[in-house]
Symmetry: C2
Subunit: 364 residues, 2 copies
């Protein structure tokens, strides 16, 4: 491995600070793991889809660092992000008598990362963990911020912890086995950072959308790095989600309503967020914050990345009902992330009538 191709983003959280490594051929390279604890036991947590693709290489490289490298394969899919599946990790750790120095390695997408992180937060009240994200969404989004969780039958991500990894190793080569639809869904969270935080980045994305869709390594590295940098800056200022961090949910209030209204799994999270950003941009325009041209640019880049720009016909009443149930709502009031100016976001409570206008224009 040459170090020239590796990008590094430092997440600055005092004693919980860590690095995100971004580049090609990182997963199997011993250098990616330098400085991590050489505990007696390591536990790779992955799922049945990812395991045959990447687990042997991770086992091999970790075998040079840990006397015992264990593996637990979870069933694949958001539907399994529950206590029963989480318990498979605890069962495996206890069956192998893993002590509190054991390092967990999350090998997979956002679901594997969320569950491994939460298991690490809870096992013996906290063991170290490392993220090895293998989806674009996990590389740009769930690897930064320390949010871990499982779902409850009555709500998504309702049970979890803020818990930081020791390191994130984002190997861009793992994206080559990802379905095209998953690449597009990951790009939704990349696009988001332009309107909310970096107007120049939106311009860069408009120039490089085709390269990203073609999985060009240089373009991917830049996109992942810039996304992580922006998220890191926001999270660094607001680790426990008191305020500023809410802007990362641009497009998510509409998006969650789409996911929930259709039943989770119909649309991918990123697809719902892509469409949600088109709606939230239009809401910002109706509030007089941005002009028609800017909303058109957002709609166009979402579309070019292969994402839907028109929401399903749930009916405005149902959309509003679902948005009022969102975890971000307080005392029944829906607050939206809006674009206050190109590259700057804020929070607003919006009259129902205006939300209905947006839904009439962009769904059904």
């Amino acid at each position: 491995m040459t170090s020239s191709g590796i990008e590094r983003v430092r997440i600055d959280l005092a004693e919980r600070s860590y690095d995100i490594l971004i580049g090609s051929e990182l997963l199997a390279a011993p250098a990616s793991y330098e400085g991590l604890p050489r505990s007696a036991d390591a536990m790779i947590v992955t799922n049945t889809t990812v395991a045959p693709l990447y687990a042997p290489r991770l086992q091999a490289v970790l075998g040079t660092r840990h006397p015992q490298v264990h593996l637990v394969e979870l069933p694949d899919g958001e539907v399994h992000k529950d206590w029963q599946t989480l318990n498979l990790i605890f069962d495996a750790l206890l069956a192998r008598a893993c002590d509190r120095k054991t390092v967990l390695y999350a090998l997979g997408g956002g679901v594997v990362g969320d569950m491994t992180g939460f298991a690490a937060a809870c096992y013996m009240r906290g063991v170290p963990f490392v993220q090895v994200p293998t989806t674009l969404l996990a590389q740009v989004d769930s690897s930064v911020g320390g949010k871990t969780a499982i779902n409850h039958p009555l709500g998504k991500n309702m049970i979890g912890a803020f818990y930081q990894p020791l390191r994130v190793i984002a190997d861009l080569d793992t994206l080559r086995t990802l379905p095209r639809r998953e690449i597009a869904a990951g790009l939704a969270e990349v696009i988001k950072y332009g309107p909310i935080a970096d107007d120049d980045f939106l311009g860069w994305l408009e120039t490089h959308a085709d390269a990203l869709m073609a999985l060009d390594s240089g373009a991917l590295a830049r996109a992942v790095k810039r996304s992580c940098e922006i998220k890191a800056k926001v999270v660094g200022a607001d680790e426990r989600e008191a305020g500023l961090r809410a802007i990362l949910n641009f497009g998510h209030t509409f998006g969650h309503a789409i996911e929930s209204g259709l039943g989770y799994g119909q649309w991918l999270h990123g697809e719902a967020v892509g469409c949600g950003m088109v709606m939230a941009a239009d809401l910002s325009r109706r509030l007089g914050l941005i002009d028609e041209g800017y909303t058109r640019r957002i709609r166009r880049i979402v579309e070019r990345c292969g994402l839907p720009v028109r929401g399903p016909a749930l009916g405005a009443d149902r959309y509003l009902e679902l948005m009022r149930l969102d975890k971000k709502a307080e005392a029944g009031e829906i607050r939206f992330v809006v674009i206050e100016a190109p590259g700057r976001a804020g929070m607003r409570a919006v009259p129902d009538g205006m939300v209905r206008e947006v839904l009439a224009a962009h769904s059904g």
Copy 2:
């Protein structure tokens, strides 16, 4: 309520600092809750034994602070300290649409406190909670230190978090409904603080053992306060159990082996710890650290508080096997908390032969 009878111990943990209030008639007094958040929802978590005794009074006083006061009653007993029971708390919170500002109140002993604290740590990734401990053990031990957990079929307290309450309200009057055996078990953790940290306190306990057993309020207040102060000092220096904090486990390595070897629930935790302290004191003597007179004092105060001083006949091999499985063991080596001098403790690895001598003298 007159404030003259209230003792206050400050637990100093930077932004997670909190107060322990100790005294009579605290539970129903509005002043005990001053300064706590007045969120829309409060959730009292208790069990079926404690609820009829104290829940109505807590509901009444919280009703003056929170528009909605909810109640969830868990089944009573360590055997229910599991995921299924924890989930009753999440079910109740979600069924009542409790948001992330909801304050949880733990009303009960150590099991209720551990589960409520862990639920608070995890619900929406963290909501505030207040401890209202109603057993002596919970007042002197589990209310300080921020340890929360549930059990796993393969091990006790294996799944949990370090999570601090906003306040601990230790009403000594709630101890009057406690079985005498539970008072004795709580005193085991009180006695502990003499040998490990405060030789004068051991002398005070020798003078006041009868008053404590008779639930004299002044004696109880002093004993609870001093125990919390010492634990607070140790925990403040080592919040996440890196080293020093281990001395709080004086008597616990032998004690856990007794509890586990007999099957949990046969002996109370405090009973096992009482006997374990007699064994650990003898181990310290055999290491040449303390004299015969001091081990006799420890044995005598344990006995006077109604606690067992002779372990069950598990056989030395079984004791050693169980101690090697203890969570504190690392790479199979058992490390014991020993008394290095009256009022001072340390950690030692001890040859199996010496442990066998201790077991031969104090069990069977």
